[in-house]
Amino acid sequence: MIYLDNSATTRPHKEVLDTYIKVSYDFFGNPSSLHTLGMEAEGLLTKARTAIASQLQVGAKEILFTSGGTEGNNLAIKGTASHKKSKGRHLITTEVEHASSYETYKELEQAGFEVTYLKVDSDGRISLEELEQSIRKETILVSIIHVNNETGTIQPIEKIGRLLSKYPQVRFHVDDVQGITKVPLNIKKAKIDLLTASAHKFHGVRGSGLLYVRDGVRLKPQIHGGVQEMQMRSGTEHVAGAVAMAKALRIEMEKAKEGRADLVKLHSKLIHTLPKIEGVTMNSPLNGVAHHIINFSVDSIKPEVLIQSLAQKKIYVSTKSACSSKLAEPSRVLLSMGKDNHAASSAIRVSLSYETTEQEIQFFIQELKKIIPTLLGVKK
């Protein structure tokens, strides 16, 4: 099996699952219970929080556990909007956000908020000037995706953070679901207020994620109940998920030290070989891009057909983002980069992990070289 759909989800590490099982069974107490079992579970949760915080170089109480990226983005955006609506009702985001941010903003528009969607250039990047011009007195939040989930384009988060620090009333939310462990980002230096991440994108288990909430930032809870998680997110804590996430994050951060250079090599191989195949055009930009996501279109071949053909060879890739790939619409992200309807409807996304090997990429390219002409032949 050659799994090249790591931006959709990753396979959990064995060690991470071992932790998950052990914590679920041996430390099953509710962290809020007063007895020893509860205390042990609480201790583990605290330790997970501290371990994650130290990996991300932030404070432990700035880590809030969630169920994943979608909840993180929803909580950051809606939680800010309802907390600060008396200060202003204008929000800024981009045209290339993940659906979990984008649709949340659409929803907030229904609720009477005004949203500016920043345009992007042909590389998929926003302009700092346009961002600054869009800021008004009543702007309360800016959400920007760090690494685009379809194309891998990196937004200049640190520069944006520095720009926004001139506007203290504006909160800065970063969706780092695709970037974390892959593209370095110093949260404090980039002056980020809220940052979303999800464990299953870095070989943790699904159903656990985190939201970095800068010390002093308050959110209106979106889930009410027993006031867990600094009173911002109720629900019995998912201790096993949190501990497993801490472990996955540690392992991935360690792998990243060496693995980043390997990813650069694999990425380079792909972007230099793919365009040479007949019918292939690259959608991901060449520069300022994460090395684990490569997006391309194959002229006049339906992406589903290509995906099925590759799957027969046990090679797994995806069309645009997995979350919206069941919709037969052209990619919103690619359209806003100025790609035509055609390219935007036939995009293939290859996404790597630190597990991906050179042989796998070699085999993938080789198969692609065989399959594409055959499919094109059928067309002709």
């Binding site: 020893t36 205390m39 472990k247």
Partner: protein
């Protein structure tokens, strides 16, 4: 730009005359203790400075830890180069370029210091040479000797030259361990950790004593105290924590003493036990978080009556502080959030509502005649459990493996 060193400056230590070497050695030892988890570091002590060689480690977590160690006046990231003008020029240019890109600085100056006098170029000439070079090799930058955005300091020492910029303030104070040992009465509230912190600031090493009353106080209260003690270790040394079982004494008082004197007598018992532990451990003073007039046990009358039972000096760093001032410090040293966790400590259980705010020594002595003071104190001291609290996470292997 890869900074390879951290340069650490002392404040008051430089004034300590013949003791200076002792103070510096203690500081070095405390730094090594706090930074134990970073095994790749090497430490060097030169006249009036300690230099940490990073050997490729990330400086940020290390600087975070340094900022809490008492006895450090300030510290800076440093680039170590040979005593060679060309190397100094290149290093200064590297720092400037990086700061220009990251922080958008527009003006700079070079401040040279020639601590090693045999070096042939004096500091004025060095300023000009290095500054001139940096200026000629960069755009959109000018020199401003009065209010520069960036002040690059060049220190020429015997073995090497260190280039630094920006000073991070240290915690001040004196190195923990240079001032003898103090026994901190650690309740689990907001005040006592702050008192411990301030005592450590002036160089004392701490041991802590905590009274607990199982099953009326729970395990979490005990964990909370351990956590607070652990937070205090980041200021420079490990802390021995004495956990005194106090249930029997409280029950005894509850039965035998008039309710309005129970609190006073309880405090006297605590102080007697603390004195005994102090004697056993060679400790010369007791520290507490009392603030004058804050609660019934901390009125001047109460202090007078309670203090009667010991001759040891009692250090009360908070005695003149308002609660809000104390809370500010607790937040700063990161004990506040732990302190306000709602677990009952032994002071609040069995406590009658009618405690005297003006207890008298003679009454306390009279009531104590009906108590078996020595028996209960011996028993509590004998059953006291002592644990060493260290800042290094020594959790059981099993837990460690989960992460």
């Amino acid at each position: 730009m890869e900074y390879n060193h951290i340069l650490i400056r002392f404040g008051e230590l430089a004034l300590k005359g013949k003791n200076r070497s002792f103070f510096e050695k203690q500081l070095l030892q405390n730094m090594k203790f706090t930074l134990k988890e970073f095994s790749g570091l090497t430490f060097k002590r030169t006249y009036g400075r300690i230099i940490i060689e990073l050997n490729g480690l990330n400086h940020e977590p290390i600087m975070e830890k340094l900022s809490f160690i008492f006895g450090i006046h300030s510290f800076s990231l440093a680039l170590k180069v040979e005593n060679d003008v060309d190397e100094m020029k290149n290093a200064a240019l590297g720092i400037l370029k990086e700061q220009q890109a990251n922080e958008g600085i527009k003006t700079f100056k070079i401040t040279s210091k020639r601590a090693y006098k045999p070096f042939p170029i004096d500091s004025q000439a060095l300023n000009q040479k290095i500054g001139g070079y940096v200026l000629s090799q960069s755009d959109d930058i000018s020199v401003d000797v009065h209010n520069p955005d960036l002040d690059i300091r060049v220190e020429v020492r015997e073995a090497a030259t260190y280039l630094t910029f920006g000073q991070y303030p240290g915690a001040g104070g004196l190195p923990v361990g240079t001032g003898g040992k103090v026994l901190l009465m650690l309740s689990g509230g907001i005040d006592s950790p702050v008192a411990g912190y301030l005592t450590m600031k002036r160089g004392a090493r701490l041991e802590a004593i905590h009274f607990h009353s199982p099953p009326y106080t729970n395990e979490r209260a005990k964990e909370k105290v351990k956590e607070l003690a652990k937070r205090l270790t980041k200021f420079g040394s490990s802390i021995r924590l004495h956990l005194v079982p106090f249930t029997d004494i409280q029950q005894h008082l509850h039965k035998e003493a008039p309710s309005n004197y129970q609190m006073t007598l309880m405090r006297r018992m605590m102080l007697r036990i603390s004195e005994r532990i102090a004697q056993e451990r060679g400790i010369l003073a007791i520290a507490s978080g009392e603030s004058l007039g804050q609660v019934a046990s901390q009125t001047l009358h109460s202090m007078n009556t309670i203090n009667e039972v010991t001759n040891l000096p009692i250090i009360r760093p908070l005695v003149t502080m308002d609660k809000l001032e104390v809370i500010d410090i607790a937040k700063k040293i990161d004990t506040y959030e732990t302190s306000i966790l709602p677990f009952e400590d032994c002071c609040t259980i069995f406590l009658p509502p009618d405690s005297k705010t003006r207890p008298k020594r003679e009454h306390a002595n009279k009531f104590e005649k009906y108590l078996e003071v020595d028996h209960y104190i011996d028993d509590a001291v004998n059953r006291t459990e002592s644990i060493q609290i260290s800042n290094v996470n020594k959790v059981e292997k099993e837990i460690e493996d989960l992460f």
